[in-house]
């Protein structure tokens, strides 16, 4: 990039931040429509069974109750909430309401009432009789039961089995990862209304408006031109609001009653009955030579989809592919088995399988280094991909892969060698350092369709409106798009408006805000639309100005012919002339299909302190180094990374949704489900490697998901470095750490 950038690369504030600091922004919870009804769900309190009877008489008799919905009076069309485009196939096992109960939290009924209190009271008055069935909560047990086994997957390059069988050094690691609650501060909520023409309008904090439309149409049996999904203000998602959970039920009630209905969840419902990070049980065997070259690797994952399929299969595949995009391993096999259990439903969660598989493999890399008596950084540097290396299974090109640079720079800044070689303290508190690497994608190219259409228009005031189906999840998507457009036209950000997803008004977007695609793919489309519109403006202006196109200069909102610099006019005046004189609009609609899916990389360095008396782990310092290509808005990028580290620390140390032997969820509120708060949050230093990526807008690539991947294994490796223990299950709670320390002490006593 030879030109100096004026708007891209600047940490400008988020477009709606003023509304957010004043409390004026309206989330769905703040919206009210005339005659709006409130709706609540009744969730099952058993893990597996069949409904024998539902007695709604007492609830129905309550004044203010409008209607009660169960499997008996609602459509019984099956669907899969994970399906985001027509033609995508996946097992369809979800229903609005089902007679079969598959987990503690399954949807049994809904009440629509005139006020919240009545809706909530009515729910408590519904009596359900179940015939209980045996439940399975362990994926290992599920694996042995044909009714719970869903599918298996294999990805392979070379001949890993033979090499592992004959290799001298094979390092094995096992790791169980847990279900995690996304813990967006805004709980799930949806508002729907039936318009006079029969259309159902849905306002929802969602990630993929066209997916909401599609899933609702499938579940309700409605044509697409009768369902309009509008992306509302988002109070946090992280994948949790990706699959439509409430929308089909809420839309049905509004459609049926012909009235606006708001369906809302409290925190407990949100934890047990929406989606969770997919739990896994992983085993990995890695063959290395004495110099630290990885010869072969075999990864086995047991993937717990939970009670419904949703994206169980997709996430199993997605995580497997990541294993082939970090280290040069010619001989590698990944196999996954996907099973149902009678536990909360798995779904999309920031990283989409990456945190799970990287936790397993990056802990294993450290174990290999320990076995060889080698610095784990050195072992990694020997095996990491170089820029423009090839994905070993023929996946999309890795592109300008700068992971080695991240490791080398990070090592220096973190002062790795000195910290690593420092003698360990003797006593209660022991410090250790650890690190880990991670990779993630940039969209769907190579796996699913990935394109977006945007329209861009400059009006008579010189203002630009970018119309597309984007979704700002609080990460700064809208502002990012505005910065790109501003850069192309050289106009201030406040002259650019970028509107968000509305399935009746937005040009089609094939995939929404998922798969770390927004900046890389949608940003590239915004750039293309802006460049095409600019070319159009230049073309028409050359006719108005009577000069060659090459002579037209656009500068700081003014346009002129290069030989007449004294006759500058505002863009808006030129647009007015173009419209008046040429009867043309300065407007473009363009479709951009992503041509690539390069790898983004993150390398995290951590210093942790283990309290050997209580098993408590404190994170003292985090350095996150990212191969970002180019940061369109460095402030947003840092914000993404710091938040992702918070989430990753929870994954490593404290967050878990678990069930008791009866399948009942144990962590039902934020008092029991521990997310990291301010006093426990370390300072996070961020370092960006900006070496540019060919197809990214201004060289940018993704950060939102990869940023939460490396932190958990880096922490576990730091714990191992401190007290020399193996953690075999996440989260590494004080109990688990203490247990591992005791186990180690017993073993060393026996040896003595």
């Amino acid at each position: 990039m030879t030109n100096k950038l004026k708007y891209v690369g600047k940490s400008v504030p988020m477009h709606d931040v003023m509304d957010k600091v004043t409390g004026e922004i309206k989330y769905v919870g703040d919206m009210k429509l005339p005659n709006m009804l409130y709706a609540k769900l009744l969730l099952s309190d058993i893990a597996h069974g069949v409904i024998k009877s539902i007695d709604i008489s007492k609830a129905q008799a309550l004044k203010g109750v409008v209607k009660i919905y169960t499997y008996e009076n609602t459509p019984s069309t099956s669907y899969n909430s994970h399906i985001w485009y027509d033609g995508l196939k996946a097992i369809e096992d979800e229903y609005l309401f089902s007679k079969q109960v598959r987990f503690y939290g399954d949807r049994i009924a809904a009440v629509a009432a005139e006020d919240k209190e009545t809706a909530e009271r009515a729910i408590s008055l519904i009596k359900v009789e179940y015939e209980k069935l045996p439940h399975i909560i362990s994926p290992l047990e599920a694996k042995e039961n044909p009714e719970y086994r869903i599918t298996s997957k294999e990805i392979k390059s070379g001949e890993p089995e033979n090499i592992i069988q004959t290799a001298e050094i094979v390092v094995e690691t096992a790791l169980k990862t847990q279900k995690v609650h996304h813990a967006a501060m805004e709980t799930h909520i949806c508002l729907a209304n039936k318009e006079l023409d029969g259309t159902v309008t849905i306002w929802t904090p969602c990630q993929v408006a066209f997916q909401v439309q599609l899933v609702v149409c499938t579940a309700l049996g409605l044509p697409k031109d009768k369902v309009r999904a509008i992306k509302a203000a988002m109070g946090g998602s992280f994948g949790g609001k990706g699959q439509p959970v409430l929308e089909p039920v809420c839309a049905y009630m509004a459609y049926d009653l012909g009235k606006p209905v708001k369906l809302y969840m409290d925190r407990t419902e949100c934890i047990i009955a929406t989606r969770t990070r997919t739990a896994t049980i992983g085993n990995v065997s890695t063959a290395v030579d004495a110099e630290g070259n990885i010869l072969a690797r075999d990864i086995k994952m047991l993937v717990d989809a939970g009670a419904y399929m949703t994206n169980g299969e997709a996430v199993a595949l997605a995580m497997g592919k990541k294993a082939f995009r970090l280290y040069k391993i010619q001989n590698q096999r990944y196999t996954a088995e996907v099973v149902y259990t009678n536990t909360p439903i798995g779904g999309a969660c920031r990283g989409y399988g990456s945190p799970q598989i990287h936790a397993l493999t990056e802990i294993n890399i450290d174990a290999a280094a320990r076995r060889l008596g080698m610095d784990p950084v050195k072992l990694r540097l020997k095996n990491l991909f170089q820029p423009y290396d090839k994905d070993s299974i023929g996946g999309p090109a890795l592109g300008n892969a700068r992971v080695i640079q991240c490791v080398e720079k990070g090592m220096e800044v973190f002062n790795w060698k000195e910290k690593r070689e420092r003698p360990k303290a003797i006593g209660r508190y022991v410090r250790g350092v650890g690190m880990a690497c991670a990779t993630h994608g940039n969209g769907y190219y190579g796996a699913y369709q990935d394109y977006i259409t945007m329209s861009l228009m400059m009006n008579e005031k010189g203002e630009i409106i970018l119309n597309s189906g984007i979704h700002d999840l609080g990460c700064g998507t809208v502002t990012t798009m505005k910065q790109i457009v501003s850069e192309v036209f050289d106009i201030p950000l406040d002259k650019v408006t970028a509107v968000e997803g509305d399935t009746f008004k937005s040009p089609f977007d094939s995939a929404g805000t998922q798969a770390s695609r927004v900046t890389f793919v949608c940003g590239a489309c915004a750039l293309k639309a802006a460049e095409q519109t600019r070319a159009k403006l230049v073309h028409y202006a050359s006719r108005i100005l009577g000069c060659a196109e090459e002579q037209v200069v656009l500068e700081n909102g003014m346009i002129y012919a290069s030989d007449q610099p004294d006759k500058k006019q505002a863009y808006g005046d030129m647009v007015t002339s173009i419209q008046k004189t040429l009867s043309e609009k300065v407007e473009v609609s363009c479709t951009y299909e992503s041509p690539a899916n390069p790898a983004s990389y993150a390398v995290n360095f951590v210093e942790a302190e283990v309290d050997t008396m209580t098993g408590m782990v404190r994170i003292l310092e985090v350095l996150a180094v990212h191969d970002i290509g180019k940061a369109i808005n460095p402030g947003f990028v840092e914000g993404q990374i710091q938040g992702a580290i918070q989430m990753g620390i929870g994954f490593a140390l404290s967050e878990e949704i678990s069930v008791d032997s009866g399948g009942i969820v144990k962590e039902t509120n934020l008092g029991k489900y521990h997310i990291v708060n301010a006093p426990d949050m370390p300072d996070v230093k961020v370092m960006l490697i900006e070496e540019g990526e060919e197809h990214g807008p201004y060289g940018a690539k993704s950060v939102g998901e990869v940023s939460t991947v490396a932190i958990a294994p880096a922490i576990i490796n730091a714990i191992s470095n401190a007290v020399d223990i193996d953690i075999t299950a996440l989260p590494a709670t004080p109990e688990r750490v203490l247990e591992a320390i005791k186990r180690k002490n017993i073993i060393s006593e026996v040896r003595q």
């Binding site: 940490s11 504030p13 988020m14 709606d16 931040v17 003023m18 509304d19 957010k20 600091v21 004043t22 409390g23 004026e24 922004i25 309206k26 989330y27 919870g29 703040d30 996304h182 813990a183 967006a184 501060m185 805004e186 709980t187 203000a233 988002m234 109070g235 946090g236 998602s237 992280f238 409290d266 925190r267 999840l473 609080g474 990460c475 700064g476 402030g635 947003f636 840092e638 914000g639 990374i641 710091q642 938040g643 992702a644 580290i645 918070q646 989430m647 509120n669 934020l670 008092g671 997310i675 708060n677 301010a678 006093p679 949050m681 300072d683 996070v684």
Partner: protein, 162 residues
Amino acid sequence: MILDFNVNGRDYSIEADARARLIDVLREDLGLTGTKEGCGEGECGACTVIIDGLAVNSCLVMAHQTRGKRILTVESLKQDGELDSLQKSFINNGAVQCGYCTPGMLMSCKALLMRNPNPTEHEIREAIEGNLCRCTGYVKIINAVKEVVKESKAPSEEDHHE
């Protein structure tokens, strides 16, 4: 039941349900929807308001317990069209992402600065320990508060030198 209290500098005398929580009265009866509900049991802090100078979870307070008290919500921070220094600093430091925790976060920080205009980083972290944020990792929020403290200190130090 009649509830007399002062919200954001204005006296109210309203008919409020005896069982209503403060958050419900603020949001439903007064239309002050800036105060958010994230858990309903005092664990997340999204509903934090200031009652007689103290940061309190409005989901844990019955409305009638606030009789005669002075309540400040996020809507009080902007005065005569001018943002509070905390709001400005949250904007300048990128301390806001999805924005759902922001009102509660701001009110906890405001209460802190009202009683202690010169808090240490440790005190800032403690003041927001009951305010959960899933987007920011708190880093930029803490920086924002530190900046307000630093800026408010600057002139007085100058005074001192004079």
